[in-house]
Amino acid sequence: MSEVVIVVDERDNVATALRAIEAGESLRIGVGGANVDITALEPVAFGHKLALSDLEKGSYIVKYGEVMGVATKRIAKGEHAHVHNVEGPEPGRAER
């Protein structure tokens, strides 16, 4: 059976939907060998992301095991994580 969402790296705190997910849908998501149980708090379209844990404002959004953004407000576990609550990280120049 095909998966509903995909988590690329065990460090990730978001999962990508492989089909449209409805609000209230319960999901069991494999993350690095363990399972995380999540209830989608809102609809998440195909290709979009949902949070795997509660993320405070300012915390890093991690996908592919790398920082892909920063939370601009608190994102609850199961919430849709996208441009309305995530912005790009400072382009890493500080790490030079």
Partner: protein
């Protein structure tokens, strides 16, 4: 591990044995095409360059055209020029001979018109075809291969299936002592720190920042900000949230090994291993550049579908989802959507792709070759004068 390739007199190894009819300037393109049409078995490409190049673009064009025409997939080249152009057949001919390529030249201004030029060119092309026909495939080590990795007409799944599967194949090739190259500098933006961490040394790390800053500054000079423009509305609708997310998905096609060198567009790397080439994200321009840099085989991942091929190198198409694979059965070589269908793992599909690369390098035709896709375009860096 071995494959069957053509060992050239300069030591390099080709996976195809093309005779190329190449205009050094657009003004000679029709004569070159008539010659190629008259000699079945030759490959013709056309472009809009060869004259009016400003400043550093002249050297850039010489490097790219020389690199392309001396790719080891080419057994012989007929250069066709006019005579008064910036990039004459003498100039490029000398460059190609220095690179160890078999070359014949024809400058049409020295000849009595088109008909005679075509007749003479036909003889030269036939001679090259006869000579190159004597080449035979032999067992060579896969460490002789340079794989070009490219993604285009991508979708949300490209970064999750087809790109990382291509990355697995790149890792396998590098582990065997071969090389992989990827490009598309605009799609490195946002992922620079990740790539910089993987740089083999400080120089490579500096070069990664140099090419990304240079690209960003060129775009800024036009009054545009790529970090605001990307991801675009279509990307956002598809679920991509930040430029970093887009780039992190794109760079997975290069795999996970250290980056050993950063080269200019169309420049031949001096080291084996994973290499980044500076260049635009334009599909055909980047594929052409990687072939000019020496890639003999290209893997091209796509989610929405593109049929792009190349005139002298096999392009292996990998679909990111099974829907595209079903819709475009004639244009896709391998379906990474099988990973999501539970039929394959990333690792098993990457291994299958690596096997496919070996078979294609040994002579198996790709769908793009069978369908006759031969797109070609060179990156320009300055206005034409």
């Amino acid at each position: 591990m071995k494959f069957l390739g053509y060992r050239r007199s300069n030591g390099r190894v080709g996976v195809r044995n093309h005779v190329l009819v190449f205009p050094t300037v657009i003004c000679a393109a029709s004569v070159a095409q008539k010659i190629a049409d008259a000699v079945p078995g030759t490959v013709f490409v056309t472009h809009q360059h060869g004259c009016g190049h400003l400043g550093e673009e002249k050297e850039h064009m010489i490097r790219v055209m020389t690199g392309f025409c001396s790719n080891p997939n080419v057994g012989g080249v007929l250069l066709v020029g006019l005579g008064c152009e910036m990039l004459t057949v003498e100039l490029l001919g000398d460059e190609l001979r220095a690179a160890g390529q078999r070359v014949e030249t024809l400058a049409t201004q020295a000849i009595q018109g088109t008909a005679e030029a075509v007749a003479r060119g036909k003889e030269l092309a036939q001679r090259l075809l006869k000579e190159s026909g004597a080449a035979e495939r032999e067992q060579v080590d896969v460490s002789e291969l340079m794989l070009g990795a490219k993604c285009g007409a991508s979708d949300t799944l490209s970064g999750l299936t087809a790109n990382p599967a291509t990355g697995v194949a790149c890792d396998l090739l590098v582990a065997e002592g071969g090389s992989a190259i990827f490009t598309e500098t605009p799609e490195l933006l946002g992922a620079e720190q990740v790539l910089a961490r993987r740089a083999a040394n400080e120089n490579v790390r500096d070069r990664i920042w140099e090419i990304t800053s240079r690209t960003e500054n060129r775009i800024k000079a036009l009054g545009l900000n790529i970090r605001e423009a990307e991801p675009g509305p279509g990307n956002i609708e598809a679920g991509l949230t930040t430029l970093a997310e887009k780039s992190l998905g794109a760079v997975r096609k290069g795999g996970t090994t250290p980056i050993v060198e950063v080269v200019e567009y169309g420049q031949k790397p001096s080291k084996k291993g994973l290499v980044i080439m500076d260049g635009p994200a334009h599909d055909v321009v980047s594929v052409t550049g990687m072939i000019a840099a020496g890639a003999q085989v290209v893997v091209f991942t796509t989610g929405v579908g593109t049929a792009v091929g190349a005139p002298i190198a096999p392009v292996i198409k990998v679909s990111s989802n099974s829907g595209l694979y079903r819709r475009w059965a004639d244009s896709i070589d391998l379906n990474a959507g099988a990973i999501l269908d539970g039929e394959e793992t990333l690792q098993s599909l990457g291994e299958r792709l690596f096997q496919e690369i070996i078979e294609v390098a040994s002579g198996k035709l790709t769908q793009a070759e069978i369908l006759g896709h031969r797109e070609f375009a060179i990156h320009t860096i300055n206005p034409t004068v």
